[in-house]
């Protein structure tokens, strides 16, 4: 936004006064509304434009008229005025933002995984810890198979085989990289990244498996970290529906980790298609698992334990982290009648309808027959309120307390409603289709 000119305190007041005095208050010769409109549209020929510009520059009435036209153009729509101040996810936003964020998270996680993957040496860090002079095994490929062609194979090992001290140093450096990668991931993706970061942190902090022999300090930390990561991924892999069964060995688990990351874009496309078929059902299912929007999806704050994280993930079924992310971002939808007497409604969490009669100081929950998420509402008076939502949901309250669901002319997502009273309203679907009723929703006419 462009800043206004800096004030000139010694001149502005006098200039304002002089401008007011310099105008002609007579309306003689003022043009009709069509000329002012053409002036605004710059549709007048140059000579005519100059003529009217000269008139407008000294005519108080026309200046006011032009100002009103400009204000009428610049103000937001009434529907937009009802939207909450804070960010509210919109259907169109979900379509591209969700894949974009998860793709970014997948890429970041992939890079992190590539950085952490052993370039040469035992497939298990624990095994590595127990061996002191083992020869260097073949390099682990991206698929976890030493003899498979490497899709994301890293360059040749940087650590010579047989030199344990060098290996320890390299692994410590990778562990450090892993921490940095997790932090970067958290910065790029507020929720999922934090979950991954928490998971990584918990692995190195709380879940150290017992080792047979006390290895060197740095090596032990890396061994703990990798062992726990492998164990958890081996358990979580079947639930993630990546199409790949977890292997028995930690190395196999790691391969699942890498493979899943690499499959993220494809899975994203698949999920996007599935969402287009039943977006509402998925979000509803997601919401059933999350009662508090701010709750972290799979690894809530204060629960660093991997077991608890796994339970949360198992409870979430298909672990729709992305959907949880957006569910957590949903903020209340405020519906304020124009009367300004303090009565207002809000939709909490997309489902719960609450009403306040004291300018929002206290809210009373109202029973709602809605089976789907609610998207928008409009209250033409203190007692009448219309609310629309997914799957063609249309609700109305005519007494300010009780809600009933109306028959819908469409099964599409409804994103906007404007009502005149309890009988007349116009609804807008996500596709842009609009329907109007004049008989309290008994019949709907397409517009």
């Amino acid at each position: 936004m462009t800043d206004a000119p800096k004030p000139d305190r010694s001149l502005d007041g006098a200039l304002s006064r002089a401008l007011r005095d310099s105008r002609d208050s007579q309306s003689a010769g003022c043009p009709e509304a069509g000329i002012l409109a053409a002036f605004m549209d710059r549709a007048l020929p140059a000579a005519e434009y100059s003529h009217w510009e000269l008139h407008f520059s000294s005519c108080a009435r026309c200046q006011q008229h032009l100002a009103f036209i400009a204000r009428a153009e610049a103000e937001p729509s009434p529907g937009a005025a009802q939207l909450p101040i804070a960010f509210r996810p919109r259907p169109w936003l979900r379509y591209w933002l969700a894949p974009a964020l998860t793709a970014a998270a997948a890429v970041a996680f992939y890079i992190t995984s590539q950085t952490l993957r052993p370039r040469g040496g035992p497939s298990s860090a624990a095994e590595l810890a127990s061996r002191t002079d083992a020869p260097a095994p073949p390099a682990v490929t991206a698929l976890g198979k030493s003899d498979a062609p490497a899709r994301g194979q890293m360059p040749s090992p940087a650590v010579p085989a047989g030199r344990l001290s060098d290996k320890v140093a390299a692994l410590e450096q990778r562990a450090k990289d892993r921490t940095v990668g997790a932090e970067r991931l958290a910065a790029q993706h507020p929720v999922e990244g934090m979950n991954q970061a928490r998971a990584l942190a918990s692995h190195s902090r709380d879940s150290a498996p017992p080792l047979a022999a006390p290895p060197a300090p740095g090596l032990a930390a890396v061994a703990e970290q990798k062992q726990v990561a492998a164990d958890e991924m081996a358990e979580a892999a079947p639930k993630r529906e990546t199409g790949r069964v977890a292997a028995e060995t930690p190395a196999g688990a790691k391969s699942v980790l890498v493979t899943e990351v690499q499959k993220q874009p494809a899975a994203r496309e698949k999920e996007l298609a599935a969402r287009q078929e039943s977006q509402e059902n998925r979000l509803a299912q997601t919401r059933d698992h999350v009662s508090v929007p701010q709750q972290a999806p799979s690894a809530p704050a204060g629960e660093p334990s991997p077991e608890k994280g796994k339970k949360a993930q198992a409870a979430a079924g298909t672990a729709p982290d992305r959907a949880l992310f957006f569910a957590g971002r949903r903020v209340p939808i405020l519906i304020v009648p124009g009367s300004g007497t303090g009565t207002s409604w809000r939709i909490q969490d997309g489902r719960t309808i609450e009403r306040s009669a004291d300018h929002g100081r206290t809210w009373n929950r109202q029973p709602s027959p809605a089976k789907h998420l609610l998207n928008a509402g409009h209250a033409p008076s203190e007692s009448v309120c219309w609310i629309v939502g997914e799957a063609g949901t249309i609700l109305i309250s005519v007494d300010g307390a009780n809600w009933k669901e109306l028959p819908s002319p469409t099964g599409e997502s409804l994103i906007h409603v404007v009502a005149k009273d309890a009988s007349a309203a116009t609804i807008t679907a996500l596709s842009g289709k609009r329907f109007s009723t004049m008989d309290s929703g008994r019949t709907w006419q397409p517009l």
Binding site: A4, G13, A14, L19, A47
Partner: protein, 309 residues
């Protein structure tokens, strides 16, 4: 103006152009038959070259000028408006779908909670509830296609809202309506009146204060008068109408950054012109000129929150 003598002559001279424009207008929908479309175009041309706005159009109404005028019209919107005035159902369906939401949005922006009422009254006039001489008169009859239909609707709404506000202000006492333009006096008279009032109420002991203020006001009036019309309109929109830079830009067809820059430049020009005039015509010293501005700042404090917003 030969082609405007009659509709038949108009169609004969501009037949090819009318056919092309009719085809162009039909992109939004085939609302009007060609003869009715030609009538609408003829009505617009007649209004432009012989109506109330004719004095603003210094060009000669030759056939070429008429053709150029016809080319400049928003023919699709004119066709839609004429069809709506004729009561064509398809045209009304299109209008309701395309323009009615914007109409209510604009009316709410202008009148707040009374917006729907304002829009409904306009809507009724557009529909043509009034019947004169056996013919239903629609407000659409006054749309000549010189602007976009949406802009015209906003302009009509704005006009009605101004009329409503003025009608309401007549019921207010004249003391309360002191800021109304009806009582705007000449600059000199205003300055003198201000000076008198100031001399009576000011705590300053400077006996020259009224003279300084009057001189400053007169110099400011001269400087404003010498401004180009666009600069004057820009200043008035900013200082008197309280429009944002973006809204001023919409009026003048400028980017808001340009508006800000030009406002700043114009104000600097005004200041230097005023100082020059006070120095040369009023024989004031630099210290006295400085005193003029200080007294003005005391006398007419400007709303800094407005300027900084």
């Amino acid at each position: 103006m030969a082609s405007l003598r009659s509709i038949a002559e108009f169609q004969r001279v501009h037949g090819a152009l009318l056919a092309r424009l009719h085809s162009q207008a039909s992109t939004a929908g085939h609302f009007l038959a060609a003869p009715r479309f030609a009538e609408a175009m003829y009505r617009s041309a007649l209004s432009h070259f012989t109506g109330a706005a004719a004095p603003a159009n210094p060009g000669h109404a030759s056939d070429g000028a008429v053709a150029q005028f016809l080319e400049s019209l928003h023919v699709a919107d004119l066709s839609l408006a004429t069809a709506c005035a004729d009561g064509v159902p398809e045209a009304w369906d299109f209008f309701v779908a395309e323009f009615r939401p914007a109409l209510y949005t604009a009316s709410r922006a202008l009148a707040g909670d009374a917006g729907p009422e304002l829009a409904d009254s306009l809507y009724a006039d557009l529909f043509g509830l009034e019947v004169r001489e056996g013919r239903r008169r629609s407000l659409f009859d006054y749309f000549h296609g010189r602007s976009k239909l949406s802009t015209w609707l906003r302009s009509v709404l704005a006009q009605r809202q101004i009329d409503r506000l003025r009608a309401a202000s007549r019921t207010v006492s004249l003391d309360a309506a002191g800021d109304s333009p009806q009582e705007a006096p000449s600059a000199e008279a205003s300055a003198a009146r201000t000076a008198l009032a100031t001399s009576a109420t000011s705590p300053s002991a400077d006996p020259d204060r009224p003279r300084y203020l009057a001189s400053l006001q007169a110099a400011l009036a001269e400087a404003i008068k010498s401004l180009p019309p666009k600069d004057r309109l820009r200043l008035s929109s900013y200082y008197l109408q309280d429009l944002t830079l973006a809204q001023i830009g919409k009026i003048l067809g400028e980017h808001e950054a340009t508006v800000s820059r030009k406002l700043d430049r114009t104000r600097r020009d005004i200041r230097s012109a005023v100082e020059r005039q006070l120095r040369e015509n009023r024989r004031l010293s630099d210290a006295q000129i400085q005193l003029c501005f200080e007294y003005a700042q005391e006398e007419w404090p400007f709303d800094l929150t407005r300027a900084l917003s």
